[in-house]
Symmetry: C2
Subunit: 401 residues, 2 copies
């Protein structure tokens, strides 16, 4: 029998307890032994709940108990999760976490610590919820050198953009509706400004390229400026507007960003709608592959955490190799990254646009008083320099085709 | 350094050698040591090729060499692959194979043999080509009890059906074109009759449910009877016709089949087109997930084989647990499996259809002289009994929505 402890009995933490209970028999078979929840750490009490008698309020009860071999961290946030996780690893307990902030900020350090102790620090649930992506990147795509990862990594914003697309509604309206339904937080900043996706692409990029990517270095743009008019043009282009986290390796340099992009029908991410996530990975020999599923939610996320618990239980005393060193990966300067840009200006600036951008692809969605076009491929820097000539820019969205 | 040998220097075997060469540095890092191809077994010689000096014609050279720790089998077919693989495992060499016939037929036995020797029998490339599916099923979805696997498992038939859909062409015409382009074999039976997909769903079902599924027990229907007229109706229904391998667990009974089905737009497999494969998996806590990518081809398939080689190298002396016992899984009687059926009859049988099937959903694609409808949910047996009343059935296709 393996004793585990769960730090934080919120949505995911209670989901972990529920999954371990629901599938206890098959999980015991796969972990080669039963998994027993010995403690649950939370500030609150949970009278009448299945963990009523397991709740403790002091992390040291867990850290000091040699019977606890695996710690599940589902508290979220960097502090005190970091101190608790580090304390557990230092005492030889493997840790499984769903906490993307923690992994993005301290992943490399905590992996190195786990390795030095021959235990494991696992974080499948930190990206893509229930979708297996961390373990496949780590253990399945080992024959390849990764060339690109582009993911729809945030279910809330994908839901909002999908609704704006299908209902022709504006951002604020759909956000309000999503908040009422509980799909978006009352303070939606982390989702709609792209901060959540930024941490996730930082984790995936670190894993894929083997070095620490600081999420603060990643250019991040949210979806608050996307309008229903933009959606009209996307339809005209047979495209969809999706906010993606993306990293690419070109000439030994890795670039990364989070931003809304126009995606064409031939892109496998085109069909990833509503609250679903999809993560496209391109390997130099494998070619295109995509992982799809529910990127959030109590049970999908708990499923990923429990899969990590099973793996940790199977590997007591053995570190599972992870290719993510503490060396910092210097990202390419985003100013030098190239895209085509979809641009909307006042109709009167049609000539100014031609002068600034040269030959462009016009896009007509019958919007009165407006002129829209797609530029040729150019760097962010070039685009900004040229765009100075246009005084009426209504929006500009990067184009992924 | 790990010495490996490759059995069969055809498309996949030569791809394995190429991938090991192309990515030798990153592969050595992930395998914790360089991988060296010591022998290549083939009947032919390959003068001027990179393996010119490594070719042997006698399997015993490889089996008797204690330096060879991993054998890659990319010959295809059951014999002599089975004897060679068994011989390698008996001598303590791990085996990585892309051979679906071998795995479907003897997987359970060879896994048990590998386990008894503390070595590994790995077969990621046998299903879905480069798509990671075997390892995720085995190691990532461990918190879940699998409820359904439905996959587009054969790229050739998906290409044919996609072309029939987009070009309004008939089966024979597209098949000929696919053969000319090398996408379909001159003898296309294994693909178009569903036999290839049948072996693959047998493998996935065995892994997901932990017991040996004999592929001979799986109802298998190909795509040779699908016409361009069927495609017109599919369009009318906003559906696509795809040949899938599918298995489901209901009330502790597992059913499985291979057949063309109508798939609706909300299904993630709807967007899996051309030569791509997609494998949808439903877990009882995870919900829906899908794995997407190139299901065949030299380098994608070799990528999966080499990932297995890396895993085997990392696990020298340790068996990676696989949940696939030699106990036979008794599949549910296919006659008792339920679907809705799309049916086309002569227009004059409209009343006979109503009499036989009761209330149906009519489908009108403006095909002269024809009446088409979708039945309510019923078993195969019920359908056959009712269909006896109709003398003009032009086609019937199962409906997955």
């Amino acid at each position: 029998m393996i004793n585990i402890s769960v730090l934080g009995y919120g949505t995911v933490g209670s989901g972990v307890v529920e999954v371990l209970d629901t599938n206890s028999e098959s999980i015991a078979k796969k972990a080669r032994q039963p998994i027993h929840v010995k403690y649950v750490l939370d500030k609150r009490e949970f009278p009448g709940s299945p963990v009523e008698d397991k709740v403790v309020h002091d992390i040291n009860v867990i850290l000091d108990d040699p019977e606890v071999q695996i710690v599940v961290e589902t508290m979220g946030g960097v502090h005190p999760a970091y101190e608790f996780v580090k304390g557990a690893l230092e005492r030889g307990k493997s840790v499984c976490t769903s906490n993307k902030e923690l992994v993005a900020k301290h992943g490399a350090e905590l992996l190195a610590l786990a390795k030095s102790k021959s235990i494991n620090f696992l974080f499948e649930a930190s990206v893509g919820g229930g979708i297996p992506i961390i373990r496949p990147l780590n253990q399945s795509l080992t024959a390849d050198e990764i060339e690109e990862i582009t993911g729809i990594l945030n279910g809330t914003t994908n839901y909002i953009l999908s609704k704006m697309d299908t209902e022709g509604a504006d951002f604020a309206e759909v956000l309000r509706e999503a908040q009422d339904k509980g799909y978006a937080e009352r303070n939606p900043e982390a989702d709609v400004e792209g901060y959540d996706a930024c941490r996730k692409i930082a984790i995936l990029t670190s894993l894929a390229f083997g070095k620490q990517v600081d999420y603060e270095d990643i250019y991040t743009e949210g979806i608050t400026k996307i309008t229903k008019t933009d959606m009209l043009y996307a339809k005209e282009l047979d495209a969809k507007i999706k906010i993606v986290g993306s990293s690419k390796r070109e000439d030994e340099k890795v670039s990364a960003f989070v931003a809304p992009v126009m995606i064409g029908r031939e892109n496998p991410l085109y069909s990833v709608n509503d609250v679903f996530n999809g993560i496209y990975v391109k390997g130099n020999v494998l070619g295109d592959t995509m992982f799809y599923g529910k990127g959030a939610g109590k049970l999908p996320t708990a499923s990923a955490v429990v899969a990590d618990v099973v793996d940790a239980a199977k590997h007591i005393g053995t570190n599972i190799m992870t290719n993510w060193s503490t060396h910092k990966l210097e990202l390419a300067d985003f100013e030098e990254v190239s895209h085509r840009f979809f641009v909307r200006v006042d109709e009167v600036e049609k000539e100014a646009a031609a002068e600034a951008f040269g030959q462009v692809e016009e896009v007509n969605a019958n919007v009165a008083g407006e002129y829209a076009f797609i530029t040729k491929l150019m760097t962010e820097k070039e685009f900004k320099e040229k765009a100075v000539a246009l005084s009426s820019m209504r929006n500009r969205i990067r184009v992924a085709f």
